[in-house]
Amino acid sequence: MSKYFGKDKWFSMLRTITHPMDEFYWIRHRENRGSVPLAILMVFIFSCCFTANRLLSSFVVNDIDARTVDSLFELIGVLVFYLLLCVSNWSITCLMNGEGRLKDIAIAVGYSTVPISFILMLATIVSRFIADDEQAFYAIILVVGVAYGIIMMVIGIMQVHNYTLGKTLLTVFLTFVALLIIVFLILLLTNLLGMVFNFFKSIYTELIFRT
């Protein structure tokens, strides 16, 4: 357990928040500095915080019908998106001389959800103490947190691949394009597989009714 969730791993993760430039660099270039399971745990926590914010934030700021919130569905959605993001970024950066491994990308993306999770929790608590005309505080807290998370993610990807900022932004854009292509291919594949399945199924039913 301590191999993945040891004290040094947690320390390294927290250090990425305060010193993203340094720490993401070391995660790439020192063995066993980052931990993928810890990153996945952080994504899991992020999903929980996201759902909690939608469910528990105060009535004053919350315009979400609680009956439409499905925490399990959101967890699966977040994890699938995380997987797609990592894979598509990896496939793009492989072609663009990125130095990072899939492992490093997963860590960079996973760790950068930490400030967002924290801010979501903080905003949820703050929301329960504010009135209608103080909504701006809530909004500012959220915007700052999410912006910090995104900046961290960009820095992470930049350091992991040893890119310049311009190239990073380009790859981020291309990552989303790749993401769409992957989704399209998956849909196409499932559709075709379904057709094949139906084909064999109809052969089976034909055989059954023949006797």
Partner: protein, 497 residues
């Protein structure tokens, strides 16, 4: 053996009695009696089933009415009804070219107007489509195929005839076909004419055409503008014209504001409240919608936005709109909140084929069906009465008194948002902020909830100010002392070294 059979009989009897009493003592739910579903839309736009606010009472056909000892015969495609201030019902029996005047219950016919004396000549109507009665009890008849509005006195004598509107804004050769008509306290005539897209036609007291009123502006989206820019002249000529919708029904409130219904293709606003300058001043409520049904998706004939064909202003800001599409009646209050929905299409009592006009007489609502040529009376139920009264009290600014009524509404309809908001507001004024927050949250009244919360928070802060201040002062002093002590300990430690 005998004893056993007697016992069995007694038990069976007792069981039957229990079942029988149970069946009789069960309150009969109102929705079981009506041939339509009664529901409302909540904050999220979801359908919430409610008790019936109105239930059908009776259906009146012309054949059952007696005048001068004989039946007046069935109505033929009647198009409009109007209730005068005296409580009489005027029915425009369009196909029979006559106006039938009845008492408020439609139990007896008081007068049948089918002709009048026009400067010595007996004149008749041709397809009288609309009828209205002014405060001075003059009868205004939209005599559609004779292209005129006839104004008669109560005794049947002609007061004046309004026809041939003359104006620069009218096309040459314009044929005036009045359909619906209403009249305000100053005897100004508001008239909906056929194929007149520019608005309601207003005539001054002397019959002079004064202009258009309440024109519905056409909204062209940016996207449509963009395509029109790209299109060639030929394409543009072929594409459909952007024509504003026509008004369909009209009514006027005692303050002189005109309520006019129109068919909105988007189902967003099917009724307007026009001030004397012709501007729409209606309030649209939390859902920002005055178009009847909210859930209108689908491709069947039964889907699509509601088509308001008439509107009636009732009292205390409450008005009801009649939907031709699904035969429903939507009632709104002065803030645009949807109060209740009832009615439907069908053949049972209380449902319609082609509803064409709605009026309010006494506490009842009456709906005219032009295809069945019948008038249906709807009585308010307990549920409807409570809502009507509570809304009226709120309209008068008497929210305290409304609370008792709202509480009774909650017994019938637990999640009624208006009732919860009403109770919450009363608690808010009374200073019970915890209760207020509870009710306002169910009522989805975010602004009032926030207000209640703010005061609640303030109360807690002021009540416990001494505790907070003590904690803060102790903490500051404690920290100060602690740092001093720490320094001293360090110093002494160094000295020892």
């Amino acid at each position: 053996m005998k004893l056993k059979s007697v016992l069995t009989k007694v038990t069976a009897l007792a069981a039957a009695a229990v079942v029988g009493i149970g069946a009789f003592s069960l309150p009969v739910l109102a929705e079981g009696n009506v041939p339509y579903t009664t529901y409302n839309y909540n904050y999220w736009g979801d359908i919430v089933y409610t008790p019936a606010a109105y239930e059908p009472d009776k259906v009146v056909t012309g054949g059952n009415l007696i005048y001068n000892g004989e039946s007046i015969g069935n109505f033929i495609t009647p198009q409009d009804i109007c209730v005068s201030d005296a409580g009489l019902i005027y029915l425009a029996d369009t196909g029979n070219n006559r106006i039938v005047v009845m008492d408020g219950n439609m139990s007896s016919v008081i007068n049948i107007i089918d002709s009048f004396d026009n400067e010595g000549v007996t004149d008749t109507f041709n397809q009288p489509y609309g009828v209205a009665v002014s405060e001075s009890d003059q009868i205004y008849i939209a005599d559609s195929q004779n292209n005129r509005v006839v104004v008669l006195n109560q005794d049947g004598s002609l007061a004046r005839i309004v026809s041939n509107p003359v104006s620069e804004s009218l096309e040459d050769g314009y044929v005036f076909v009045p359909l619906k008509v209403t009249v305000d306290y100053a005897d100004r005539i508001y008239c909906i004419a056929q194929n007149m897209f520019e608005g309601i036609m207003v005539f001054e007291t002397n019959g002079q055409f004064a202009g258009f009123f309440g024109t519905i502006s056409v909204d062209i989206t940016l996207w449509e503008k963009f395509w029109r820019k790209l299109a060639t002249k030929e394409e543009r000529a072929k594409s459909q014209l952007f024509i504003p919708t026509e008004f369909t029904g009209i009514d006027i409130d005692p303050d002189g504001f005109v309520y006019a219904s129109n068919i909105d293709a988007n189902g967003i606003q099917g009724v307007r409240r026009l001030n004397p300058r012709g501007q729409d001043v209606i309030k649209k409520g939390t859902n920002d919608n005055l178009g009847g049904d909210l859930q209108i998706a689908g491709s069947t004939d039964y889907a699509g936005p509601s088509q308001f064909t008439d509107v009636v202003y009732r009292e205390n800001g409450i008005y009801s709109c009649l939907d031709k599409k699904r035969g429903r009646i939507f009632t709104y209050d002065h803030e645009g909140n949807l109060l209740y929905i009832f009615g439907g299409l069908g053949t049972q009592m209380g449902t319609f084929k082609v509803p064409s006009s709605i009026e309010s007489v006494g506490g009842d609502l009456i709906v005219l069906d032009s295809s069945n040529a019948t008038v249906t009376y709807f009585n308010e139920t307990e549920y409807g009465r409570l809502i009507n009264q509570a809304v009226s009290l709120r309209y008068d600014g008497d929210e305290e008194q409304a609370v008792e009524l709202w509480k009774q509404v909650l017994l019938l309809d637990e999640n009624n948002e208006l009732a919860n908001t009403g109770i919450g507001k009363a608690y808010l004024t009374a200073g019970d902020y915890v209760q207020a927050m509870k009710y306002l949250k169910i009522g989805m009244a975010r602004d009032y909830y926030s207000l209640a919360y703010k005061r609640y928070r303030n109360n807690i802060l002021t009540e416990n100010a001494d505790v907070y201040m003590t904690v803060i002062i102790v903490a500051v002093v404690g920290l100060y002392v602690w740092s001093k002590v720490k320094k001293k300990v360090k110093k002494s430690g160094k000295e020892v070294k």
